[in-house]
Symmetry: C2
Subunit: 208 residues, 2 copies
DNA sequence: AAGATAATAGCATTTTTATGCGATTAGGTT
DNA sequence: AACCTAATCGCATAAAAATGCTATTATCTT
């Protein structure tokens, strides 16, 4: 038996979900509230919550703000966001704050049921459009008007990302520190930056 | 009509997929080969390839190596990996190299068909276990024995990640440059580092 | 042959970072 | 009351980074 909690301020949807999930014999909705504040007031009374399905747009504290506080108190509860928001910002913030899944509100009850089963099987349910936003995050973004770094320059960048000083970069690549300086000059020119920090950030953002 | 290409060295699976997809009236398998080399030899003859479904474990050049070369020549073709490999390394490399979806080989034909439809609708099909690996990538990893940064210190970190100098950090937070220095000292002590570069890297790795 | 680019290296100078030491104020804990 | 932490600020100094300028060699393109 899987214990499920809901935070959803759309009463109609909340009751529909509650009914549908309780109708499944393997699930039990043990808590169903309309706000994060409500959840914090009542969750201690529940012996176990396996899965929490929550909205982002809530009255009072929103779902994304509430998420880290919930995960702090219930680290073993898997949280799935169920929301109309499909902008990247909200998706990534939710994931960073501890969500294990992200479903859009046009998801069918059937698919929500399957999503819960996926979570229990160690997976992450994700509406395809949300998955695309995450996948695109990994795709290198070609910056227009930005010159391609040479192989050697990319090696220097990797060393900088590793946190090495000019001296240590020189040691790693067996070149003089002045050559390192020279390469870094070229890198800064090509990337239009003027400090290591920006190079490292661009590297992590996939802009190199 | 959607044109589909396959690279799959398991002949049985390859022919099964080919038959199944051709049976769907909205799909047409326009190229079906058993290696990347084969693909490169024959893809020019095909007028259009909308979707490429490919394996990773191939004879000769493997799927991950072949991927960037394929995307270079066919930037508008959406690539879905279909493989038995579920290790994070292969998943992330595939995404970085341009894959738009990642399915495990236990995926049903029915689900593969749905995955193609998801791609066409601008989504990214993803087996739930693969999605979990990607989601986990965003979850902050609590480092044992690492002290929690204060709110102010986190603001400083954000400013450093943005590439600001001490002086500009001071301006942004309306404090003196010496206070910035002091905060950065505390941050370095808590994170066990001794330069901005490492702080920025830790931040992007989710270790803060 | 001339021109462009990548990789190497040196020297000088200014700016920024990293670090040592000390200090005050405010808020919370024991 | 004594103690701790977060946040603030100052001064000093050594190390590292950023930048300006020059120069050689090799390779590749036109």
């Amino acid at each position: 038996m899987t214990n499920i909690a809901l935070i959803e301020d759309d009463i109609e949807l909340k009751e529909l979900l509650e009914k549908y999930l309780n109708f499944q014999e393997q699930f039990k909705v043990v808590l169903s509230v309309i706000s994060a504040e409500d959840f914090f007031a009542k969750f201690m009374e529940i012996e176990q919550i396996d899965i929490l399905i929550m909205d982002i747009g809530l009255p009072g504290m929103n779902g994304i703000e509430a998420l880290p506080k919930i995960k702090q108190k219930l680290p073993n509860t898997e949280v799935v966001m169920l929301t109309v928001h499909d902008d990247s910002e909200k998706v990534f913030q939710s994931l960073k704050n501890g969500a294990s899944g992200y479903l859009l509100k046009n998801t069918s009850l059937e698919t929500i049921k399957e999503s819960i089963e996926q979570i229990l099987a160690g997976g992450s349910p994700m509406s395809p459009n949300i998955a695309r936003k995450i996948v695109d995050h990994f795709h290198p973004k070609p910056i227009e008007g930005q010159k391609e770094l040479s192989i050697r320059e990319k090696e220097i960048v990797l060393a900088l990302v590793d946190g090495l000083s000019y001296k240590l970069v020189a040691d790693r690549l067996k070149i003089s520190i002045d050559t390192v300086r020279q390469h870094i000059r070229s890198i800064y020119r090509k990337l239009n930056v003027n400090c290591k920090a920006e190079v490292i950030s661009k590297s992590y953002k996939g802009e190199i």
